[in-house]
Every structure is written in C-alpha cells, then in structure tokens.
C-alpha cells in the first residue's frame, strides 16, 4: 500500500481521477471536453505533487499548466475549426494497432518498474523543502536556470514570428 502522511485510499482516488481524466482527453469527440478533461487531469497531478511533499512543484503546476498552458490551448481551439461527425473523423485507422501497442507498453513498463529494486529505500519523504530547493537552484543549477530563461525568450519571439500575419508585398 502507498504510505506517507495520508491514507492509502487517497492515492487510489487520486490515481483514478488522473487516469480517467487522461482517458477523457483521448476519447472525447468534442475538443472542448478534451480540454476541460485535461485541466482536471493537471489539477490532479498538482495534488499528486503536494502528496509527494513537493509543494513548490504543485504550485508551479497550477500556475503554469492549469493557468497558462490550458488557456493558450483553449485559445488555439477557439481560433481553429470545430469538427463534427463520426468517430472515424477523430481517430486514425492505426488505432487498431496502437491500442494493443499501448497496452503492451504499459504492461511491460509496469512489470519492469515493479520487479526492480528502485523502491527498496522505504517510504521516508526526502524531497527538499522550498528553501533547500531554492538554494540548490541558485547555487549549483544557476547556469541551466539562466539557459532556460533564454529558451523561453527565444520561444516567445519564435511564436510571434510564426503566428504573425504575412505582410502584403508592395
């Protein structure tokens, strides 16, 4: 049973919530339902981080995923077409092959994870506090941190250039 400072059933409820919402993203025909299901899934994942004693990641998850990425995706949905029709319009024909492939991958990976000795250390929560995390970030990892901000700026400029309307040639 999953242990920690919380009841094990909380984990199972949370896992069921995350997986059902993820399946909703894949299965809904209406793309807005998919987006709503995705937001619910992101919230569940934020709760998972909180249970894993990583409150900073939980808050960042809500800010970035639930707040920003979802909004951008919903904007993109509203700027593009809405499809209506049968399931064959929404799913590729290769679903027949992809479904057993995905199930096989899930089974193999689960078996590999469960039979490994990766969890031999027990249930003690070892994640650093927010203070420890910030010390780590701004001491040893300050160069990747700056690099990531550079990537963000480049991505923003790239997005503007890509999505801008072509100017009429004179």
């Amino acid at each position: 049973m999953p242990g920690g400072d919380f009841h094990p059933w909380l984990f199972f409820f949370l896992a069921a919530w995350i997986l059902v919402c993820a399946l909703g993203v894949v299965a809904f025909k209406k793309i807005m339902y998919s987006a709503a299901s995705m937001v619910a899934c992101f919230l569940g994942v934020a709760f998972a981080y909180a249970l894993l004693s990583a409150p900073l990641v939980a808050i960042v998850q809500i800010l970035v995923y639930v707040g920003a990425i979802s909004i951008v995706i919903i904007f993109a949905i509203m700027l593009t077409e809405v499809q209506d029709g049968g399931y064959e319009l929404f799913f590729d024909r290769q679903a027949v092959f992809a479904a057993p492939l995905a199930v096989a991958a899930a089974v193999v990976l689960t078996v590999v994870v469960v039979t490994s000795d990766i969890g031999a250390l027990g249930d003690k929560a070892l994640n650093p506090s927010i203070k420890g995390l910030s010390l780590l970030l701004f001491n040893g990892y300050v160069f990747p941190f700056e690099l990531v901000s550079l990537v963000l700026v480049a991505a923003m400029i790239g997005a503007i250039v890509l999505a801008r309307k072509e100017e009429e040639k004179a």
Partner: protein, 102 residues
C-alpha cells in the same frame, strides 16, 4: 510494496495513455494535449523518485521544474505553428497535412 512502485505505476499508465492519444488522434491540438499528459507523467516519476530515494539532494524535483518551463515554451511554439498552418491550409487534421508528400 513501497509507495514508490505505486507512484511509478501511475506515471507509466499516464504516459501510455498520452502516447496512445498521440498515435490515434487526428486533431493536432489534441495531440499537443496528449504530449502534455506524457510530460506530466515523466514529472510525476521524477518527483516520486526524488522523494523516496533522495539522491543528489532532490535534483529530480528541480528537473521537473525545468521540464514544466520547457513544456510551456514547447506549447507556445507548437500552437503558433498550428495557427500559422491553419491560416494557410484551413485545417488542423493531421491526415490533411500532406503537402510534404510532393
């Protein structure tokens, strides 16, 4: 069985659902959403391993923060490409993105 196995199993299942969605859906925006699910699965695995194994002072948690940042950048550029493509071709269905076939 210790907790880490349960969390990693959750991550594996979420990752496979996301991969399945990427493979089967036709709308490119839904494919991007499924990509985000896969990134979230990896983040759950990183945070769980960091929490139950310690190691390198919790660098796994830090990595998940970097991944979240890069996912934001990826979504911005990806959706900009989708919008630009939609403006030219009036579609977001992958089976109609067949220009590169020549």
């Amino acid at each position: 069985m210790s907790s880490l196995y349960w969390w990693l199993t959750l991550a594996v299942l979420l990752f496979c659902i996301g991969a399945f969605g990427v493979l089967v859906r036709r709308n490119v925006i839904v494919i991007i959403m499924c990509l985000e699910l896969m990134l979230n699965a990896v983040n759950i695995a990183l945070v769980a391993i960091s929490n139950f194994r310690g190691g390198a002072l919790g660098a796994g948690t830090l990595f998940s923060l970097f991944i979240i940042t890069l996912a934001a950048a990826e979504v911005t550029v990806g959706l900009a490409i989708v919008i630009a493509n939609y403006r030219n071709r009036r579609t977001v269905q992958t089976d109609q993105y067949n220009e590169l076939k020549g």
